[in-house]
Point group: C2
Amino acid sequence: MPGLSQWPGEFEIIRRFFSAQRVVDADTEIGIGDDCAILNFATAARLALTTDTLVAGVHFFSDTDPARLGHKALAVNLSDLAAMGARPRWTLLALTLPENDPEWITAFARGFFRLAERYGVQLIGGDTTRGPLAVTVHALGTIDEGPAVKRSGAQAGDAVYVSGSIGLAGLGLKIRQGAYLVPDEEALDRLEAPEPRTAFGLRLGEFASAAIDVSDGLVADLGHILEQSSVGAEVDWEVLPLSSAVCRYVADSGDWEMPLVAGDDYELCFTASPAYAHAIALAADATATPVRRIGTIRAGSGLIIRRYGRSVELPYSGYVHFSPGDTRR
Amino acid sequence: MPGLSQWPGEFEIIRRFFSAQRVVDADTEIGIGDDCAILNFATAARLALTTDTLVAGVHFFSDTDPARLGHKALAVNLSDLAAMGARPRWTLLALTLPENDPEWITAFARGFFRLAERYGVQLIGGDTTRGPLAVTVHALGTIDEGPAVKRSGAQAGDAVYVSGSIGLAGLGLKIRQGAYLVPDEEALDRLEAPEPRTAFGLRLGEFASAAIDVSDGLVADLGHILEQSSVGAEVDWEVLPLSSAVCRYVADSGDWEMPLVAGDDYELCFTASPAYAHAIALAADATATPVRRIGTIRAGSGLIIRRYGRSVELPYSGYVHFSPGDTRR
């Protein structure tokens, strides 16, 4: 991690936040400040690892509130950990910045560390370099017991669930682009500062046969489960959990596919045997997480959307990273 | 790791190489293809983690041979692991590409996987996104026994060593920039495809009181050891290990500071009690690694360079990432 020294100004600011961070994981032997961080597990351990990059002009607008960007860069990684049923523990931050702007980096670090602290995640390393604005976060978690929740375990007859509501980030993007003129704070919040479903994710191992987080859009992400599980699915459009703003957008525009194909919601989509319906309701209650059954896994392949008595098969292609003028394929 | 799906073209190529990679670590429960990778340690384990970003136009020329770039992006991370005495095991690759160029990505993957295979490193995850060319690699290793070799353990009286030779990458950069007109393949190789000192790094725990890899330049990196150990050092210019091409450059230009301040050599600099001189010579022989004593740790602070009977104190600032027209501060 030479970046700790190469950019004294920037990393000094992160280091200041780091020094103030209250999270010190018991298994961290060495944190920031050496060539590597060291984690020391005294007994058996199972680690979940993920990495995600956000690039200015591709994943976010360059003028995005830096505190929200710091939040989101970590949140999208915590979301991947949640989808495997892992407990978030550590993170590394590789930050590429076009210029030395202490105010910007201070706000970024505040957003990043506020979320990290809320979930007990310790920053143990990083790299800060000069270049076009981009953030790559690496997150690590542990899986306490039982199998990890993979994408490949869905079986015919399983119910398909999604947490929270979908299409909100897609609506936020349309508002941010000026393509939809009804403002909605909740939609902008979802786009710029999504909340990982960490608490519910930790319960997935109790009932889920497969799970994924909704980053590329429900169709694309459920499509990964279907492909990797060699099954198909039917989803009922009428029961999709949509906020009233998203419903209004669909009514205004007729664009009923948006909630299915827009990305960046960071909800959890999972499958489970119908026998677990009660366990799922209990876990949803216990973690204050809205969870809705939206369909059923079928033998075969393909994703059928049922809508007002008609069935439409949607390709899995779904969402592609937006650039500020180009929302989806 | 949504990138596995978002950029089917690019990641399909990496996945093809991944499928062909012969490295399957026994502790890998899930590799590429789910939300997270899972590592499963049946007994106690100590993990070393590091991350480094290379940005086009900042850390490398945009027209760099992509196979060499793939090699270097992994090598600089393996170098950090070597400096902690860790055994490289796993890597994650976050690749940001301006366009879909199968030929480029094929060459990049070839260079990356060739090095990974040579050191038994398994790619277990990644993210591929569109944007200005940049590579962030995350590497993980294990430390078998004994304490990790930190930067903070140097003591007055310890000898200062460096592996291989220094200034070669700095010379390569000058040649590449057209600032020095005597071509030297070895210097270009060091700049574009440095070799991590992995085998010797695994021996560091036997004798080193502190260690760091030389990425920012000897003065800057030894400076980190001195600052973190609260000591000073004297280094003898006359015994610095310099290739004949670097000697010739110094003779031609009079720029004797270059080998001390130029970065990117990825050699190991370490300190050890003089009592370990024989053990160090044995480890150097056993791993075919040239190792040279270049100075001594002193009480106090500051780095003195002794050169032909004169002493010069150099500030630790050293090397700053080059941009193609701007080699150092």
